[in-house]
Symmetry: C2
Subunit: 207 residues, 2 copies
DNA sequence: CGTCATCCTGACCGTTTGGTCAATAATTTC
DNA sequence: GAAATTATTGACCAAACGGTCAGGATGACG
């Protein structure tokens, strides 16, 4: 896609610092709520210097989004069509929950974007994301036909996994406020719950 | 709480128009992303006139939030402790999904607020919301002890219901983009899926 | 060391934003 | 229908915002 310019070490360092700072600021305040001054300050650079590396605020944002979508879909791609259906899906749930634990900023960045109508990544959703989800749904359907997985709408099964796992990153303010937990503790609990929950829902009825 | 000022008919009409307009604008763009001009325009009023009825942009926002939280929790309060456990919870899931269908703006308003750390309603979450959830969790626990409901962490069960139902309002851009549905159709599908899904997960194992 | 490209910044600009205010218009009240 | 109250607005303001630019500092390299 993008031409690989010969990046100097300073460029590499500062581009990374800016993207990391922007990830924090954008995920906390959304695109409109974030300011270049906040990003520059968080990156330890001056505002004009930030704009020396990225053409605009929007350029930083889209660079973040497109760079992250890949990582975000990896757990879905890692489902093994030759594995045991329930275990494979439970594994996917756990990997997705793990991402909520390790990358809450990334999760909230997407959440912010999609809640507001996904104006800047709708094409990526309609394209590669839809394709991957459709393919996975087909795999699930096959497993259901073989009687190795409870019969449920496969697309909505994927949605439920996204919803229940990302919830712990996107709405952690609410969750920790109700559970009165600190740090990661609520995700430890979620791990146990989601394993039980999905196992019950997914195990096919004995014939 | 608030003193009931003798509201004139004009006050009533314009306050409602402003809150309705603000609901649309805030849910689409978040607090920071929304502007008073957008709200005023959507309400059919001039900006200074909007500020004649509300002291500030923030006052409009908090008026919306606190006025809506009640409505938002009603479905949870409607769970009947004397009903059949699985049916009661399935009913709650359906009512909550119905709210995603009828009040997507309200759902996205809360989503925006909580994703960004719930800075303006954290106390209401830690107070009345937590209390209601704790009480409901206790009810669920009792049902589990009686063997009338599968044993699962009751708090996280509530979270899963919030996550899976609100997902269809908050992330409808993504869902409809993947399903290629129009309007409400994705929620019709969700209804069937969630009924099957939760029935499987909640029915206790036969003794 | 010299020179050339890269890196960085203070000062600045036009626009947008939340909010004010004095003056005017519309309604209600007596 | 006059007086008093409520409603509405155009003009305005200060601050914040995204972004520009000329020029200086710093680094890479022969």
């Amino acid at each position: 896609m993008t031409i690989q310019q010969p990046q100097t070490r300073i460029q590499k360092k500062n581009r990374e610092a800016i993207l990391d700072a922007a990830l924090g600021v954008f995920s906390d305040h959304g695109f409109r709520g974030a300011t270049l001054d906040q990003i520059a300050s968080a990156a330890g650079l001056s505002k004009p210097n930030v704009l020396y590396y990225f053409a605009s605020k929007e350029a930083i944002y889209t660079a973040l989004l497109s760079g992250l979508l890949e990582t975000w879909l990896d757990p879905l791609r890692a489902i093994d069509p030759d594995g045991e259906p329930v275990d494979e899906i439970l594994g996917y749930v756990m990997r997705k929950l793990q991402m909520s634990r390790e990358y809450p900023r990334e999760s909230r960045l997407f959440a912010n974007e999609i809640v507001q109508g996904a104006p800047r990544i709708l094409d990526q959703i309609e394209g590669p994301l839809k394709e991957l989800v459709d393919r996975t749904a087909g795999l699930f359907l096959g497993w259901m036909d073989d009687g190795r997985l409870a019969r449920l709408d496969p697309h909505h099964l994927v949605f439920s996994i996204w919803a229940t796992t990302q919830h712990y990153a996107d709405f952690s303010a609410q969750v920790t406020s109700i559970l009165q937990t600190e740090g990661d503790a609520h995700i430890d609990q979620a791990e146990t719950f989601l394993r039980d929950f999905y196992r019950r829902a997914l195990l096919p009825d004995s014939p």
